[in-house]
């Protein structure tokens, strides 16, 4: 175990994959000379050269589509869409080609494509650069959507994604890149089929993912002080969802809440709440609650952005309201 940053973990997975498999290549805006908008691919151009670390023009729809075509052609492309905000320009290729080609062709083709993108708000980038649209990707049959929330997952999930025969979209919350944790710099692929309990608790289950995990764990600490024992579940895979882990926890706690940086209406939190309704209705002592982002284009001003996003305070308050008074 060494101290590793989330950024280094992504980079190590990219490097190891490029070394291990000649079919793997990296493509996207500024992944090469610039080193990646978040420096995740820094140094890779120098090590692997311009054929395998390819800077693209600003053409999201086409370089994502080219990733699909390259996968059809036998490669293992890793396409970096700088941020989820720009992925809207490539969404047609993902929904109508990447997700459909296998089924539409009667199973003749596989698309082993990995698409990485930074997501999320919190850095005062305003309305066009602060989206959390993971739920849209989690809506698409044929796509696997992952949200690594830890340094170990940042590496392990990318390695696992590259072993998938079908398209995988990985969401890296932009606020996590500098985060450092103890991790095995040489760990292999992570299990991407299960959610994980990040904190054990008995009074309430709080489900979250990605950039909201840290805030939720911070809130759980505070709740402990006021005598509320919070179990925190990190979904990790947003599609498919591992509800078994979530429902098992609720059978124990009888109370649940979801923390999701997405806008509330039509959020992933809504899907998790609906599934809990369907799978654990009779275990619930109270309605499932949601802490999501305010339904507003993200404002630039820090105090307004802070107010729009889920914060530990809001999580603490919501959990407290959800749980019966303590002595």
């Amino acid at each position: 175990m060494t101290t590793l940053s989330y950024r280094e973990a992504v980079r190590s997975a990219l490097r190891d994959s490029l070394r291990a498999d000649p079919r793997v290549f990296l493509m996207g805006e500024d992944v090469g000379r610039y080193g990646g908008a978040y420096a995740a691919s820094k140094g890779l151009l120098e090590e692997f050269g311009p054929e395998r670390v390819r800077d693209t023009p600003l053409s999201e729809s086409t370089f994502v589509g080219a990733g699909i075509g390259a996968a059809l052609g036998g490669m293992r492309p890793i396409v970096e869409v700088m941020t989820v905000n720009f992925s809207l320009l490539a969404l047609d290729q993902i929904v109508n080609n990447a997700a459909t080609l296998r089924h539409m062709s009667g199973g003749q083709f596989s698309i082993p494509l990995v698409i990485r993108m930074a997501t999320g708000a919190g850095r005062q980038l305003a309305a066009q650069h602060s989206h959390s649209l993971e739920v849209w990707y989690a809506h698409i049959p044929g796509i696997t959507a992952l949200a690594p929330a830890t340094v170990a997952d940042a590496r392990g999930m990318l390695l696992a994604a590259l072993r998938e025969p079908d398209p995988v979209v990985i969401f890296e919350h932009a606020s996590l890149y500098p985060m450092e944790e103890e991790a095995d710099a040489h760990a292999g692929p992570a299990d991407i089929t299960h959610a994980v309990v990040r904190r054990r608790g008995t009074d309430v289950t709080v489900v979250t993912y990605g950039g909201s995990l840290g805030k939720t764990l911070a809130a759980a600490e505070r709740l402990q002080v006021s005598g509320i024992s919070t179990e925190v579940i990190d979904l990790r895979s947003l599609r498919p969802l591992d509800m078994e882990t979530v429902l098992a926890s609720i059978k124990k706690t009888h109370r649940a809440m979801i923390v999701d940086e997405g806008w509330r209406t039509g959020s992933l939190a809504a899907e998790v709440s609906a599934r809990i309704m369907e799978g654990a209705f009779y275990d619930l002592d109270a309605p499932v609650a949601r802490v999501c982002s305010a339904e507003v284009p993200m404002p630039y001003a820090k105090h307004l952005e802070d107010a729009a996003l889920p914060q530990p305070e809001a999580i603490v308050d919501a959990v407290t309201a959800l749980c019966p008074r303590r002595g």
Binding site: T62, G65, I68, G73, D92, R102, H103, G107, G142
Partner: protein, 335 residues
């Protein structure tokens, strides 16, 4: 107006072997009769969904396909019956697909707009206009990264030229000198919108300048002209000098799809183009050149009719995919 912009009647010299000429005619005839049968079956309700006929444009797919090897790749649109047949896909599997049968080339999942054949490197069948171009660029990139001397032929319509993906794809392919042959089937209409009403610069080949690649207009009603132009283009693309844009000037004889009342063009305009029917004009040339006799022609027609009858029989006899397999192939099965 059409007359003004339509290519001259003079067609390329008959620079080909009799056998090859007959093969070209047979393929065009097969496409023509196959689609006439499709239209008939559509009105019978045997084929459903969208059905876009290629009738009138046969010379493009047939001429262009001659220049490709079995290793090359093909990307087409929702108007791809002609390309699939010219690529050698079995008419039976195609017809079964349009019936929605499990023995269809896409197991009944795709229908007319989504024909696929991995073995023949026929990568489909794209129904989002412009959506196939990036796929072709990626296929070519894969060939280049694996040092395979292959070409990817990408067919698309004049309407697709207005989409951003046309611009992005030509720039990327040209920038990276990828082996893509862009084949624009300019049939003068994007659904009901005439070329001059969707392109500020209606000369599509001229747009190649914006990407620093060669662009050329070709008479798409003349199978020989198409074949020779495509052969030259494929040669240069395979040589690794980067993509080429060919604009094939052609015309759609039938409605855009089976729902189209054709309010947007005159009978006169259609009649003008019917005179240049690629099948009948080529037939006439072969007869005049003494390569084809009336007897040969009726033998050929019978042969094609038999092939189509067999295809329909195969479709009729085909099984339905069990509903239990609805979710099959959404993901690749795990070993």
């Amino acid at each position: 107006m059409t007359a003004l912009t339509a290519p001259a009647q003079v067609s390329a010299p008959l620079a080909f072997e009799p056998d090859h000429a007959l093969l070209l005619l047979r393929q065009m005839l097969l496409i023509r009769r196959f689609e006439e049968k499709c239209a008939e079956l559509y009105s019978q309700g045997k084929i459903r969904g969208f059905l876009h006929l290629y009738i009138g444009e046969e010379a493009v797919a047939v001429g262009a396909m001659q220049a490709l090897t079995a290793d090359d790749g093909v990307v087409a649109t929702y108007r791809e019956h002609g390309h699939a047949l010219a690529r050698g896909m079995p008419a039976g599997a195609m017809m079964a697909e349009m019936y929605g049968k499990a023995n269809g080339c896409s197991r009944g999942r795709g229908g007319s707009m989504h024909l696929f054949d991995a073995g023949r490197r026929f990568f489909g069948g794209y129904a989002i206009v412009g959506g196939g171009l990036p796929i072709a660029v990626g296929l070519a990139l894969a060939d280049r990264l694996q040092a395979r001397p292959r070409v990817t032929a990408c067919f698309f319509g004049d309407g697709a030229v207005a989409e951003g993906e046309f611009h992005e794809s030509l720039n990327l392919a040209a920038l990276w000198k990828l082996p893509v042959l862009f084949l624009c089937e300019n049939n003068r209409y994007a659904m009901g919108t005439a070329l001059e009403r969707h392109q500020a610069q209606p000369n599509i080949a001229a747009k190649a300048v914006a990407y620093g690649i060669p662009g050329m207009q070709v008479d798409g009603m003349d199978v020989v002209a198409v074949e020779s132009a495509t052969r030259r283009a494929v040669e240069s693309v395979r040589a690794g000098t980067g993509p080429v844009l060919l604009e094939l000037l052609t015309y759609r004889f039938r409605a855009h799809s089976m729902y189209d009342p054709e309010l947007y063009r005159t009978k006169e305009e259609v009649a003008q183009w019917l005179v240049r029917d690629p099948v009948t004009t080529f037939t006439r040339r072969l007869i005049d050149a003494g390569i084809l006799t009336d007897a040969d022609l009726s033998a050929l027609e019978q042969d094609v009719a038999a092939a189509i009858a067999a295809a329909v029989a195969e479709a009729e006899a085909g099984p339905w995919e069990p509903v239990a397999d609805l979710l099959k192939d959404v993901h690749t099965p795990r070993p």
